[in-house]
Symmetry: C2
């Protein structure tokens, strides 16, 4: 069994990018509404990445009670100024119109790939900014020479941030893709026939040894915190004995998400320069 | 075995729509470049539908050698005037930038659902105009009380017009979705475990009796012409003995595509009225 080491690859990506971006005066604006604890952790990771790569980090912390128009007003300001990349930290409070706010981001600065235009470009096979987690997974698999063409790939989870965009990226790579979710019956029948299984549900212990075939590749996107310790969707101790490759949690997909964000900031710069 | 009768349902849909649209002065502009024979047949079907529903039909036939800017200039004119719906008849010659031309269509008039914005809305689960063929397939299955929730659905083909948007619509309906294509190995292993199989390849005879389980639902989107006769992807004589429901070719998905186009024109009107 081999570990798919996201940290190591992230550091390599940072090293290459550092040189490329050093004189470019790039900047990332992160907009946060409220004070979600998990968001604070994620934002801190982004801040560290920016410091590491000499990208200016701007953190806009808005009060919980803010209205759509005020958030959009800020975004429009950032669209016009020299900010390279804009990111709306999710989740945001329910009273806000999430998609309307996200769609107010200039798609050339949308480093989360969540505006309608970037999502559409992904569906239609056009160039554009791609959500960081699916992008990072593809990068990690390719770096480890895991061939995707013709492979059976099963994705558990159908979110806008992971499951659906990842399915489209896997199709681009000529994989045969199955998408399972909470309404799927007998999920084991599908995963047992899969070369690559990617779980993105946040349900600790969902993927067990008896669900995967020998030498499968297992990618764990899930994250849950139990008694202060982080767990993924995959029962690592059991599954790691059976599979050929596996991502650890933490240290697998998480660092790759940050690495892809850094790549997207640089790509946003290139797109805007055109 | 039951026939999924697209003609009958199309006529019902037309009947309901006829009354709704009769005083609305709707119009459909179809832009054709060159003189593709199959396109002429499809355009004629659209023309008939418009005549039937009292929708003004405008056919712009442009010469093969036309340039991007000239096509886009026409589209911009139609975006601004009172045309309800604009449709770029595909295929178009290779020297033209297909996606640039399509993206110049106002997304509120894009009744093929092929602009980046509408494709993105579909991916993100937002409202928008949906490609006619996948929309028609969902309508036909639902009309026949075929439950999709938790069902194993296999789609053969990954085009922008059918395979990918249909996969997303099936996910919305809580189906478990697998997408196969030309690079898929042992496609039979997947189809044999599927409750619903939808083939959209244009390869006559691809889906055979030994590829489906008893009482599967089979939807045939393929179309190929051999010695002047139309065939689908499915070996109808064999497969129809084994399945519970099947679409005929012609008379299945084809009429539903036209019915969905009519619905999309009405929907485009409603979106623009907002």
């Amino acid at each position: 069994m081999n570990i798919l080491d996201g940290k190591k690859l992230r550091d390599e990506i940072f090293l290459k990018l550092k040189d490329k971006v050093k004189d470019l005066k790039l900047s990332l604006a992160v907009i946060q509404v409220g004070d979600d604890e998990a968001s604070n952790v994620y934002i801190n990771q982004k801040k560290k990445m920016c410091e590491n790569l000499n990208i200016q980090f701007k953190h806009y912390r808005l009060q919980e009670s803010i209205l759509d128009d005020e958030v959009i007003h800020l975004i429009e300001k950032l669209n016009k100024d020299d900010t390279t990349a804009i990111l709306m930290q999710l989740p945001i409070p329910n009273h806000l119109n999430k998609q309307k706010i996200i769609d107010s981001i200039d798609y050339r600065k949308d480093v989360d790939g969540l505006t309608s235009i970037n999502a559409g470009n992904l569906l239609l096979g056009k160039k554009g900014l791609i959500p960081c987690t699916p992008k990072g997974i593809i990068t990690l698999l390719k770096y480890n020479n895991i061939d995707l063409k013709g492979k059976r790939v099963t994705i558990i989870g159908r979110s806008n941030l992971v499951g659906k965009p990842l399915a489209l990226l896997m199709l681009r790579e000529n994989a045969t893709v199955s998408i399972c979710h909470s309404k799927t019956k007998n999920i084991k029948d599908i995963t047992l026939n899969s070369d690559i299984i990617i779980s993105a549900t946040g349900k600790n212990g969902l993927v067990k040894e008896d669900m995967i075939k020998d030498n499968a590749v297992v990618v764990d996107v899930g994250i849950s915190k139990i008694d202060g310790k982080l767990f993924g969707d995959v029962d690592f101790d059991q599954v790691s004995r059976k599979c050929s490759y596996i991502t650890p949690v933490p240290g697998g997909v998480g660092p790759m998400t940050i690495a892809s964000l850094a790549e997207n900031i640089y790509e946003a710069y290139l797109i805007q320069k055109k």
